[in-house]
Amino acid sequence: MNYEAVIGMEVHVELNTRSKVFCGCSTNFHAPPNTNVCPVCLGMPGTLPVLNRQAVEFSVAVGLALDCSISRWSKMDRKNYFYPDLAKNYQISQYDLPLSFDGAINIIVGGETKRIGITRAHLEEDTARNTHTLGGGDSGVDFNRSGVPLLEIVSEPDIRSGAEAYAYLTALKQILQYLGVSDCNMEEGSLRAEANISIRPVGQEAFGVKTEVKNVASFSGTQKAIEYEIARQRQILENGGAITQETRGWDADRGITVSQRSKESAHDYRYFPEPDLAPIVVDTAWEEQIRAGLPELPQVRRARFEEAFGLSPYDAGVLTASREMADYFEAVVEAKAPPKQAANWIMGDVQALLTYRELDIADCPLAPVELAAMIGLIENGTISGKIAKDILPELMDTGKSAQDLIEEKGLVQISDADELVTVAREVIAANPGPAADYRAGKAKALGFLVGQLMKATKGKANPKLANEILARELGSSED
């Protein structure tokens, strides 16, 4: 029987507000344990939450970017369960009235664009972090993370494969990063993805029994976990078995999912409206103000790059992968570099050097205007592309301008015809064999002679001019 997978994603994203969602503590991830804490995020008796306005604005911005409707009136609720990482033993979250609902995100898989529905995005507080000594015995709780604002983004079950899930996560992360609302760092836990997976015979309407896969540390891991889970479920069904509704963890080392908790022991969260917080009212004026502050989103920017700069879909995709990359590219073009050349340099040598230096484009030491100036020098024939390649690392490391650097190093291209004629004659004289070959009609021999000329000028000869002069000299001496 043919099965199809039905997958919905739940993504938790920590919002990078400066302070926590209900108190003034810093959200800094790197502080020593239990230093970014106060009576509120420790859940001390008598404390009350105060909602962080920035967290609401970030949440609404995400909602708008995901094409969601924004709730005019929403509220916070208490989600009750007991765990030592939960300071109050209830989490302040949103139950039936999320800030944003009913949106969508476009993903591209195998060249095809597909729309994945967004059910809702709601604001809540993160929990603390538990650590345990190896072999048991002692447990510690670090409350620095307690109360960091968290946005839970829930998709519709529109995803059909691991590859689509991967594309969904990538597209979502890209949007969140464009908005600048989250670091989206899976290793540090600022982005956590869970997949709800079931399979059903192709053509069947009803959903199969689902499993929930957690603890995946990367997007590619999520894709693998989903693919594994689909195969596992198929095997069970094909052997006449039944799927158990449960939570399964991804064991990356073994490449399998492992049962963690079955539905029978699932919690009754006893949600009820948080009486300590007033309802959240996002009126149209506020919504429009947030909308006006939204940056150009990746898909729009990508289309514009293709249109305005004549870039290929692939190049436009690479250059809009991150907002910083796209900003850098646009700054280079703004400084008068031809778009195609700018794209090639950024995607090629610049990116390679950044990768080698473990730098992000946002921290690129080479200012866009300097890169544009260097490209300009190639365009006007002052230096060759080869020279440009050679000096790029130094350009990046010293912060000098390309002009200063080539002058300092005497790398200005020789475009003086008289000077090149002299060298050409020397080369011809020193290489009678190839010269004779060329005159005998072996056009290829010219390349060798150009190479010799470049060598003699330490690569500074203008290649186009060198070609012309050599050809002319070989022809004239024949006369």
């Binding site: 001390m44 008598g46 404390t47 208490r78 007991f82 033993n89 006893r270 949600y271």
Partner: protein, 488 residues
């Protein structure tokens, strides 16, 4: 000692300080001596702050000399044990918080300190404010100063008893369903629950967040206005506190009620309300009438649902609010447990008293999947109807006047094994919490058993002024000298 300063009100003391008749230090010493002498009988205090009280009194004297005193500077007072203070312990009179010291001061404590208050210590209460007799305290049984065999009411029984027994000039308590007004009525002092949102709850250990409100116990209505002036107002740490201007409440103390319409809800004055309490309240209404007020019959048709609605909402909220007491971060923790589940189970079983456990279980039940709609949601709807009753009634009157409690203080042990009877002690006070209204209890005479009865005055939201105006006018004209409990 020519005068007994501990018998004075705050405004009398302020005059005495200003005139140099006595000092804050002397008055504090006198109160501490009074506590030492009387409290073994009354048992109002659970923690006395001898040293810090005298320090605060000396600071107050410096302020008085410098001419920067407020009306409460140097006036000794007590705090209910659920108001967080960096001084001493804050235990909510529960074993689960034995020895707990708060890392911060509640907003009201901060404001009182700024006003120059002298805090004498913490007073007894029903554990986590759950009860109507203070018998649910894990510490001690507080006695009614008027009759030591009787309860002081609850849950703020320690606050009421400390003021009635002259062990504090005033006290701060909290009122979730009557926990200020009912003990004030039982002990014969003035007790007021302001409008929900009038006083910051930051630092009040929550019982039921949508109902809790802090308020004063005082010896007269003027003092009540003075304390309200000091503690009311918006606090950015409590977003449910109202961002409204706070009037000078002493402006309400005119003694004039002419033209005031006083609503008498027919659902409260039923045949079931009898005896001395009804008699005292009717006399009080006559006095207000004599001063020019007009009694109007009003109806609060959903009154009969109030107790049920209250016990669903308050237990639901409490079940979440008390979840944090798990022994993980602070408070008492069970030893020798094998896992986290057992840690919770044993810590909570050992730390919480029976009434608290009963309410946590009730609250957990009404919020449970499958029961939420039938209980919690329905209760919220009924709560709206109860609030609407008041809105409609206030179209016909300016204040509503009722007895504070159906009966005077009962005997210790009388109702402790009958929770439902105990819950009915708050019959007349609960609705105002559900409707978030301001209400005061002012003494209106002694019953034949020589126990105080209380007159409750309820106002429109944020109209504490009308409540105080009515209560003050009655107090000024009630025609008898309010006596003192028969204590030493």
């Amino acid at each position: 000692m020519d005068r007994e300063w501990f018998r004075m009100t705050a405004h009398e003391l302020a005059d005495a300080f200003r005139n140099g008749d006595t000092t804050a230090e002397a008055v504090a010493e006198e109160h501490l001596a009074r506590i030492e002498k009387i409290d073994p009988q009354v048992q109002a205090y659970v923690d006395v702050w001898q040293e810090s009280a005298l320090d605060a009194a000396r600071d107050a004297d410096a302020r008085i000399r410098a001419g920067t005193a407020t009306p409460l500077t140097g006036v000794p007072m007590s705090l209910k044990d659920l108001l967080c203070s960096t001084e001493g312990t804050t235990t909510c009179c529960s074993h689960i918080l034995d020895g707990y010291r708060s890392p911060y001061d509640a907003t009201v404590v901060e404001r009182l300190r700024e006003a120059g208050a002298v805090v004498l210590g913490k007073v007894n209460m029903d554990e986590f404010a759950m009860g109507s007799s203070t018998e649910n305290s894990a510490r001690q049984t507080t006695r009614n100063p008027w009759n030591l065999k009787c309860v002081p009411g609850g849950s703020s029984g320690g606050s009421a008893a400390s003021v009635a027994a002259d062990e504090a000039v005033y006290s701060l308590g909290s009122d979730t369903g009557g926990s200020i007004r009912q003990p004030a009525s039982c002990c014969g002092c003035v007790g007021m629950k302001p409008t929900y949102g009038r006083v910051s709850r930051y630092g009040l250990v929550a019982f039921a967040s949508s109902l809790d409100q802090i308020g004063p116990f005082t010896k007269d209505v003027r003092d009540c206005a003075l304390v309200l002036n000091a503690i009311c107002g918006h606090d950015k740490r409590d977003t449910t506190s109202a961002n409204l201007a706070v009037p000078d409440f002493t402006q309400a103390l005119t003694g004039d009620v002419s033209g005031l319409r006083i609503g008498l809800p027919k659902e409260y004055y039923t045949d079931a309300l009898g005896g001395d309490v009804r008699d005292r309240v009717e006399t009080a209404i006559d006095i207000l009438k004599d001063r020019g007020a007009t009694p109007v019959e009003v109806s609060l048709p959903h009154t009969e649902y109030a107790v049920a609605v209250y016990y669903i909402i308050c237990t639901a909220e409490a079940s979440a609010n008390l979840a944090r007491f798990d022994g993980v971060r602070y408070g008492q923790r069970a030893a020798n447990v094998k896992d986290v589940r057992e840690l919770y189970h044993q810590t909570k079983s050992a730390g919480f008293g029976l009434e608290v456990q009963r309410r946590i279980m009730l609250g957990t039940y009404v919020l449970s999947s499958g029961y939420y709609d039938a209980y919690y949601l329905k209760a919220q709807k009924a709560r709206s109807l109860i609030a609407q009753d008041f809105t409609k009634a206030f179209e016909h009157c300016d204040v509503i006047v009722t007895p504070t409690t159906p009966t005077p203080a009962f005997r210790i042990g009388e109702k402790i094994d009958d929770p439902l009877q105990m819950y009915l002690s708050d019959l007349f006070t609960i609705s105002t919490n559900l409707a978030a209204l301001p209400a005061i209890s002012v003494p209106c005479g002694l019953t034949t058993e020589q126990l105080p009865a209380g007159l409750q005055v309820i106002g429109r939201p944020f109209d504490e002024t009308a409540v105080l105006r009515t209560a003050y006018a009655y107090e000024q004209h009630r025609g008898f000298d309010w006596g003192r409990p028969p204590l030493g």
